[in-house]
């Protein structure tokens, strides 16, 4: 009887796993499947699961549209934005967590910048970068329209509040007594920060970096409005397959699959740190 119940429970468990996995993963699965389909097999009804796979959509995306150019732009913009966000976010979060700068008012003010929808500020951003790009500083820092600097500044502005709020809880969980002990051992305030606090907050910083990178990588609205050709990102690159002649679904799926791949690999590598980091900030004794 025990064995029968066990088999039933096991079957139910794996059945549920495959059902839920299928439900959530199906859009990604369909995207990958479409990317391998020949043109004639994409928009047929009923949809085909059995077909002769081909790489012609990838060839179209990579060679004809030069999709690697968009990947390169996205990589530059995302990595630089993430680095800036993590550095400034960590320092700001530490000061909020340890010295309670502004009695919580500044922290709330920082969050308030996330309360407005991005579309509300897109026009002022467009006008600012258009004019700043014409100045000497703007030119030297590539801050004009269709330049990497403009998107980097925008992404830093929009991701910094999130990073600070996420990191504050991580720093608050590190016992002050550890820092006091390090100070008694003769370390300066900066050395304490560098040798004690930041290494302990590393899982939290890793989580923040991963989330920021994902946000930057997948952002569409600002990239679409602030770039034309030279600094376009992958999301804008995928949109470029929506032509006047029609939507090229095969290359769209191939481009989407290519753009998902780097983030997927990165997240899988960082998975262990992410899980540790997420539980680290959440539990309080």
């Amino acid at each position: 009887m025990q064995r029968k119940t066990s088999v039933f429970v096991e079957t139910l468990r794996y059945g549920t796993i495959f059902l839920v996995l299928g439900f959530f993963v199906f859009p990604i699965f369909w995207m990958v499947l479409t990317s391998f389909k020949p043109e004639g097999a994409i928009m047929v009804s009923p949809p085909r699961f059995l077909f002769t796979p081909t790489l012609e959509n990838y060839a179209h995306a990579l060679h004809d549209k030069n999709f690697l150019f968009y990947i390169k732009n996205t990589l530059i913009i995302s990595v630089v934005s993430t680095a800036i966000v993590v550095v400034f976010g960590s320092l700001a979060a530490y000061s909020f967590a340890r010295y309670n700068v502004g009695d919580g008012h500044i922290l709330f003010f920082i969050l308030s910048t996330k309360m407005m929808p991005a579309i509300a500020v897109i026009l002022p951003y467009f006008l600012i970068f258009r004019d700043v790009g014409k100045t000497a500083i703007g030119k030297s820092l590539h801050l004009g329209l269709d330049q990497h600097g403009a998107l980097i500044v925008t992404y830093v502005m929009f991701n910094l509040p999130f990073a600070i709020w996420l990191l504050v809880s991580f720093f608050q969980d590190i016992p002050r007594s550890l820092e006091h002990s390090a100070r008694l051992d003769g370390l300066s305030r900066i050395q304490v920060l560098r040798k004690v606090t930041f290494p302990l907050a590393a899982p939290g910083i890793a989580v923040t970096a991963v989330f920021t990178l994902i946000f930057c990588w997948n952002e569409f609205l600002f990239a679409y409005i602030l770039t034309r050709k030279m600094a376009s990102t992958v999301t804008v690159g995928v949109e470029s397959f929506f032509t006047l002649q029609g939507i090229l679904w095969g290359p769209v799926a191939a481009a989407a699959t290519i753009s998902v791949a780097p983030m997927l690999i990165f997240v899988l590598i960082m998975q262990r740190y992410m899980v540790r980091g997420l539980t680290f900030g959440a539990v309080r004794g």
Binding site: F18, V20, F29, T52, P53, L264
Partner: protein, 80 residues
């Protein structure tokens, strides 16, 4: 095997299948004279590797759980 472990293993199995498809189409398909045979072999290889990984993870999770349970049982026995 818990639900989250099953989810993780299932998703990675799917990624392995997709990886096999890419690898096959880029490197191995040209070695086959008939495309139908190549597709069949590719699917068999992809499914076998994906399923193999899932079963391997399932067994590893079960072993980990058995080891943890044995450790707890030993601790309880020591306390008695």
């Amino acid at each position: 095997m818990s639900f989250s472990q099953g989810w993780d293993a299932g998703f990675k199995s799917l990624l392995i299948y997709v990886g096999v498809v890419f690898f096959w189409l880029i490197f191995l398909e040209k070695l086959f004279a008939d495309q139908g045979t190549s597709v069949l072999a590719m699917n068999i290889a992809g499914i076998a590797l994906g399923l193999g990984f899932f079963l391997y993870r399932r067994r590893a999770c079960k072993n980990e759980r058995a080891a943890a349970e044995a450790e707890i049982a030993a601790l309880l026995a020591e306390e008695r």
